[in-house]
């Protein structure tokens, strides 16, 4: 085989790279010093990713007959596909192109120009050595199962499920609670338009419940995920409802007759009660109740069965067991939502200790016409109407002691609370804020409206809420102590009621979720998207998408937009029927295999079969994910990993250490 003809292309990326790395010197160096290694051309260009830059490469491939291309630019995670496509357009196998990251790994992280330029040369040299050993490959085509799993039945999941189902593809929706609806179902009004949350949400919930393409699995949780894009096998645990759904008509008699009430910590946020057999709210979808086994008198004492006695259709079944259901899907959308920050952690605000300090979710239930007070706002005693209300923004957000991020929705939510408190009680309302953030459509106008209504806006983060009076005017009140930063003085404002706009935090079990689906979480615990700007709903794991608050705090419009965006991505893939995968796979050279079976146990995907008859192992390319552990572990060196072969890595090490110019200068070039 003749020596390869390699082209090296060094990108300026405007001044992003050229500002720190002497790109012209690097290109000149590559042309001269790596010439003996096959570099026949080395060019630098302002923006290699531009169409002119790509044409430059395509032209060289055609005119100079390049057999390998090295592009020194940004991270391969951004533009690998761009340059591979350019190669392909010029008739070169796209896998004969190697990207070297001299932006993320050099110019952006180093300041010393000389050192940065030297490092850029070294890693280009590594790329050149490596690319020599590249092989022409074809992408693997994997068929896509047309069904999709949507995890989480809040507004983001509902939107995603409906979009996909309406496009004609099957959807499984798994929801942990007895009903879909999520947090949005708990609210009464939604900002900034103040339209009724139930009015806009319940039609969508009903659509999900009735849609012929949607299989709704509530009171269920995903237990296990196997497989990979196109072919996931998902195990869902269906918790026992103790209600035969095929017989239940949702008449509600069981709930009426159940003699036991417990505090509803979930839907009513602890502010109200529910029966032990219950649907969380009247518009629940599906409208079958569940029996809360922990609290059910029958399960505790063995007697009662009031629900069973009164059920007209004999739908109550105390013998029901949990079931594990296997479903096959091609893609997955995670819309698992958020938890509310526990404001008890901010001890100085007294939540949980001072009766009339409420959380934002409690306030939502207060104002909800279907809530425990029928939409009336009272103090904890359930009868007194507050005359003064304090609303504390940023409770647990923007605070390194709790959550070092802005929860995004609290400003608007707090302004909504101010409006509702005033509307419902005529109370004097004080909002305590650090900054007011209203950057979406019609949001600032809503702020103006709340100002017009006479809400007192005090700029200062509240220091403490106390019932320790100083003087008679404070007696029996809660005192909000704050520095009014705009006048520079400490103020103590006596109020009847305090509402804490608590932060949104990742679900308690976010870490297990991330592990089960092979995703990673940010340090705050939110699921990480593939790219924060350009790929906000895809993840690093092919075939798994995220939507809504699972990805970070966001309001309803943004959650809906993400749900729809994730659905669009899923539908696009289904319609292609198959998906192209990186051909990074391991193969066993049957001649070299000694049959030791060490690799068999190294593979987490059970992709390595052992042929007892021939005493050799073989990799099933459909199951192999290309991690390369077996390649590293094979004592006979019989396993090769395409794309990351021993030759490629060892050659790259030589290149990085500049052996190709130090030691090999005079030697003949080894040819693969």
């Amino acid at each position: 085989m003749a020596q390869e003809k390699i082209g090296v292309y060094v990108c300026h990326c405007g001044s992003n790279i050229a500002g720190t790395v002497d790109v012209e010197d690097v290109a000149k160096w590559a042309a001269e010093q790596l010439h003996h290694r096959g570099v026949v051309v080395a060019r630098d260009y302002k923006f290699m990713c531009s169409s002119l830059g790509q044409e430059l490469i395509e032209k060289d491939i055609k005119q100079l007959g390049l057999t390998r291309v090295v592009v020194a630019a940004c991270s391969p995670h951004l533009h690998e596909r761009t340059f591979r496509t350019a190669c392909k357009n010029a008739g070169l196998n796209p896998y004969l192109c190697e990207l070297v990251s001299i932006r993320e790994q050099v110019s952006w992280v180093h300041t010393d120009k000389v050192a940065a330029t030297e490092k850029a040369k070294a890693i280009i040299s590594g790329g050149v050595e490596r690319v020599i050993w590249h092989e022409a490959l074809e992408p693997l085509k994997v068929p896509i199962h047309p069904a999709t799993l949507v995890v989480g039945g809040g507004i983001a999941g509902i939107q995603a499920a409906l979009e996909i189902a309406d496009a004609g593809f099957p959807v499984y929706m798994v929801e942990r609670e007895p009903s879909i609806g999520g947090h949005m179902a708990q609210f009464d009004k939604t900002f900034p338009t103040l339209d009724c949350s139930a009015c806009i949400l319940t039609p969508k919930m009903v659509d999900v419940g009735n849609h012929p393409n949607i299989t709704l699995m509530t009171w269920s949780e995903v237990m296990r995920v196997d497989g990979y894009v196109g072919n996931f096998q998902v195990t869902v645990r269906q918790k026992p409802r103790y209600v035969k759904t095929e017989l239940c008509t949702g008449c509600g008699i069981c709930q009426e007759k159940c003699p036991k009430k417990v505090i509803d910590e979930v839907f009513e946020a602890g502010l109200g009660y529910r029966k032990v057999v219950y649907t969380p709210f009247p518009q629940a979808v599906p409208n079958y109740p569940v029996i809360d086994r922990e609290n059910c008198t029958y399960f505790i004492k063995g007697t009662c069965k009031a629900c069973q006695k009164f059920c007209p259709t004999e739908a109550i079944d105390f013998e029901q067991k949990e079931e594990f259901i296997q479903i096959d899907v091609g893609q997955i959308i995670l819309a698992t939502g958020y938890d509310l920050f526990d404001p008890r952690k901010i001890a100085q605000y007294g939540y949980g200790r001072l009766a009339n300090v409420f959380s934002s979710l409690e306030f939502e239930r207060f104002t909800n016409a279907a809530g425990p007070t029928g939409g009336k706002l009272y103090l904890r005693d359930g009868v007194t109407v507050p005359k003064t209300v304090a609303i504390i923004h940023c409770s647990g957000s923007r605070d390194k002691n709790y959550n070092n991020y802005c929860s995004n929705i609290c400003c608007m939510q707090s302004l909504k609370f101010a409006h509702l408190a005033k509307e419902k009680t005529g109370a004097e309302v004080y909002n305590f804020y650090i900054d007011i953030r209203t950057p979406a459509k019609a949001y600032d106008e809503f702020y103006q409206r709340v100002l017009e209504e006479g809400t007192h806006m005090i700029r200062g983060r509240v220091a403490e809420v106390t019932d320790a009076a100083r003087g008679t005017k404070d007696e029996g009140k809660l005192i909000v102590q704050v520095e009014d930063t705009l006048i520079g003085k400490q103020r103590r404002i006596p109020v009847d009621m305090v509402i804490l706009s608590a932060a949104l935090v990742p679900r308690k079990d976010h870490h297990e979720t991330a592990r089960m689906f092979g995703l990673s979480c940010s340090s705050d615990g939110w699921l990480i998207e593939r790219h924060p700007k350009l790929d906000p709903v895809a993840t690093m794991t092919e075939g798994i998408f995220i939507a809504g608050c699972a990805q970070g705090p966001k309001d309803i419009p943004a959650s809906v937009a993400q749900g729809a965006a994730a659905a669009a991505r899923v539908i696009g893939k289904i319609q292609q029927h198959e998906i192209a995968m990186e051909p990074v796979r391991a193969t066993v050279d049957q001649e070299k295999c000694s049959g030791c079976r060490i690799c068999n146990n190294l593979c987490p995907f059970n992709a390595i079969l052992f042929h007892e008859d021939r005493m050799v192992s073989e990799v099933n390319p459909a199951l192999c994910q290309g991690c390369g552990t077996c390649v590293a572990g094979c004592p006979a060196g019989a396993i090769t990993g395409t794309g990351f072969s021993n030759e490629q890595v060892l050659a790259q090490i030589d290149g990085l250490l500049l052996h190709n110019i130090k030691h090999l200068e005079m030697e003949a070039v080894p040819v693969p």
């Binding site: 100085q348 002691n401 220091a463 704050v482 520095e483 930063t485 400490q490």
Partner: protein
């Protein structure tokens, strides 16, 4: 402070305050939320709240800051420090401002001109005996700074003596020479703020 490249420039008042504070006080992180000023037990009596003072430090208002009574009215209760959402070491910065104010002699211009006197009197005893001495501290401090209050203070002092809660004479540690050489060296090492 966070790793950032800044062009070389003469140290500002802000830089000096940060440099003279032990550890990393994170002063540059202040978002002016007022948690400190709201939490401060003596906040209502201060010329400026700590938050306002930080803005003034940023603005380079040396004289105003160092003649303020704010650091002297700090009771070191550490409420501001544990509540600060940006984890700024507010109490430590107050101590730094006290030291700078003494060095620059600016405390005399402000509304708490006698405040450093108490600290100075206190440490004089420590530097001479190795232990504090309440009777001497109270009499000497009040004689020097609040002579008119002496009469008011007298009953309390007599009460303390009667209850056996105050010594008539100071106690001296054995290693006084050692302590003196340590403190002398330390003072030599304390660079100008």
């Amino acid at each position: 402070m966070a790793i950032a490249t800044t062009q070389a420039r003469a140290p500002t008042f802000f830089d000096r305050v940060v440099a003279a504070t032990p550890g990393d006080p994170h002063l540059e992180m202040c978002i002016q939320c007022g948690t400190c000023g709201g939490s401060c037990p003596s906040g209502p009596d201060m010329d400026h709240t700590p938050r306002a003072l930080f803005a003034m430090i940023n603005a380079g208002m040396i004289e105003k800051v160092l003649s303020s009574n704010t650091p002297w009215y700090c009771v070191a209760c550490y409420y501001c420090m544990v509540r600060c959402p940006q984890q700024i070491h507010i109490t430590d910065i107050m101590y730094t401002l006290k030291r700078m104010s003494i060095q620059e002699g600016l405390y005399q211009k402000g509304s708490a001109p006698e405040a450093p006197g108490f600290s100075q009197t206190f440490i004089d005893y420590v530097e001479n005996y190795g232990r504090s001495f309440e009777l001497g501290l109270a009499t000497r401090y009040h004689l020097s700074y609040h002579p008119l209050d002496m009469m008011k203070m007298a009953p309390m002092g007599i009460g303390m003596l009667r209850k056996g809660r105050m010594d008539l004479t100071p106690k001296k540690i054995k290693g006084m020479d050692q302590l003196k050489s340590i403190l002398a060296k330390a003072k030599e090492l304390e660079a100008k703020l």
